[in-house]
């Protein structure tokens, strides 16, 4: 359950095949757009964010993490009416942070992943809120309880998503 501190030599680094690298984020963005239209309450989940965290913690490479986050975020932005870069910036930060943390911590167990997801979900929302409000001028409402509960919901889903990602990741 606990997040254990490990040295860089102890942690395992994984990679994903090219089809998985392309198709998984695309599927996540597609499902996010499609499911939220069918079931509006599913808007609370952020599948592309979970995939970003999953990829970043598995690869444990900050550069790969930030570029993956950036691309997934911009892809997500492209489906919205907002300027491209809002999700891009937020997920870049999350991708970099998750992969950097993945180097230092053992994030293989479900408890660690659960906590990490909550933390990075809130970080993602804070960055998004600041950029959307400060730079783009969108009127955004902030509610800590809502964000925290959304974080918990995403963390629960994240545990299962990471288990699926474990099945397609390859040891380097």
């Amino acid at each position: 359950m606990a997040i254990t501190y490990t040295s860089g030599e102890q942690v395992e680094v994984y990679r994903f095949s090219i089809p998985a690298t392309i198709l998984i984020p695309l599927t996540a963005v597609f499902l996010q757009a499609w499911l939220s239209k069918r079931f509006p309450f599913l808007n609370i989940f952020d599948l592309p964010l979970l995939v970003t965290i999953g990829f970043a913690t598995a690869r444990r490479n900050p550069l790969a993490g930030l570029f993956t986050g950036s691309l997934i975020g911009m892809l997500q932005d492209a489906l919205t009416i907002n300027p491209i870069g809002l999700y891009g910036i937020a997920k870049t930060v999350v991708g970099f942070g998750a992969s950097s943390l993945g180097i230092k911590l053992d994030v293989e167990n479900a408890g660690a992943r659960f906590l990490l997801t909550i933390v990075f979900y809130v970080v993602h929302e804070i960055v998004y809120f600041m950029i959307a409000r400060g730079l783009v001028g969108l009127h955004m409402a902030w509610s800590w309880p809502h964000e925290f509960l959304s974080g918990v919901a995403n963390a629960v889903l994240g545990v299962f998503v990471f288990m699926l990602l474990d099945r397609v990741k390859q040891r380097t």
């Binding site: 757009a33 499609w34 955004m140």
Partner: protein, 445 residues
Amino acid sequence: MDVLGRYRNLIVLVGVLFAQVLGLAVQVKRTTASEPTRLIRVWAVGAVTPLEKALEWIQTSTGNIWHNYFYLRGVRAENRSLKAQIERMTLEQVRLNQDAGQARRLQALLAFKEQFISQTTAAQVIGGSGSESSRSVFIDKGYSDGIRPDMAVITADGIVGKVLHADRHVAEVLLIDDQTSGVGAILDKSRLQGILRGTPSGELMLEKVMSDETVPTGELVLTSGGDRIFPKGLTVGRVTKVSPGSEVFLNIRVHPAAELNRLEEVLVVTKIDERQAEPDQTGATRAIDILAERLPTVPPKPDDATKGAAGTAAPGTVPPGSTKPTTVKPAPVKPTTVKPAAVAPGTAKPTTVVPTTTAPATAGSDAKLKTVPPPAAATAAAPAPRKPATAASATGTSAGTGSSLSPATPAKVTGNPATKPAPKPVKTDVPSQPKPQPAVEDTPH
């Protein structure tokens, strides 16, 4: 060099973030209607929407097979119920057609121009934006189907939004509950106008209604046509909450009539005709005639009826065989009341009264026409009691002339020679300055 290698990751992170912030700033500054769609949007939409279309097709096909071939329970009962409903609605339609025709005639007289939805394209909603801060949906029709930006998107229940971008086979629709959306709206009864905007939480608020106005909850909100996107008179929703705003305006929350969270099929308004309303061809086109129909009839007095029966020509009575019309000018004599008389069978021409503008009488003149006041019901949409067929044209028209157009204008009475021996001026026992009929408020579409 060593420092660069040590902080390489951080430097790249800062560089990527800086590039994205720069890109954001450029987009925010250059957001215009004429801006072309960015390539990444085209790629993203091109990558995601085919999957959405395919899934939508599979879901629809499966649903159709189930509902159209297997799950037919209760269809007969529903069919009977729908038939009964059609009958009821047919009757209602007849009444509404009459009202609409009357409204069109009045609009034509007032030279109103109204917008008609002349062409729509049905489209299916295939996906959303997947973001709470961006309320938009994708439809399966694009510019190859005639969809263009800024076209209105509606459902049978109410308005939905407007087309934001149109790709070849896909278009993005900005929903009315998005915070960047704005719709010109008007309250149905009070006719107060405002701007309908979305909030970050996805609610609809009607803005710019002064706080000293009274807006009841439950009032219908319609499009005002002021935004040049939605035609006037489309249903938007109903007022659910009214509270004082921060400034001099009210906070009016509106519940949308269309289920924006459960959209499946929508109509894109691809063509709007703006033309002047044409009068209904079946009836008279003069306002006085229209208004006269609504006015009540002065009931015939028994002594007039007796006179008529005894052969004395009462005003407005046309004896059989009389054909030559004449003009009767009201003389400045003792005013009497024009009483409608029953027209004898075989009457050649009924007496009619047409308006004249030649000799406007001054106030207090003996020749001044007075009219029977229209009751409250006559000014409302409810039809007034109908007059007898021929007497109506004599008395009702006269009343209409005086009441609606120029109350102080004498009437030139064109009638039968039989009426000539007794040219009595019209006396009325009603105010000489009646209230005009209210203009038509609702534009039928």
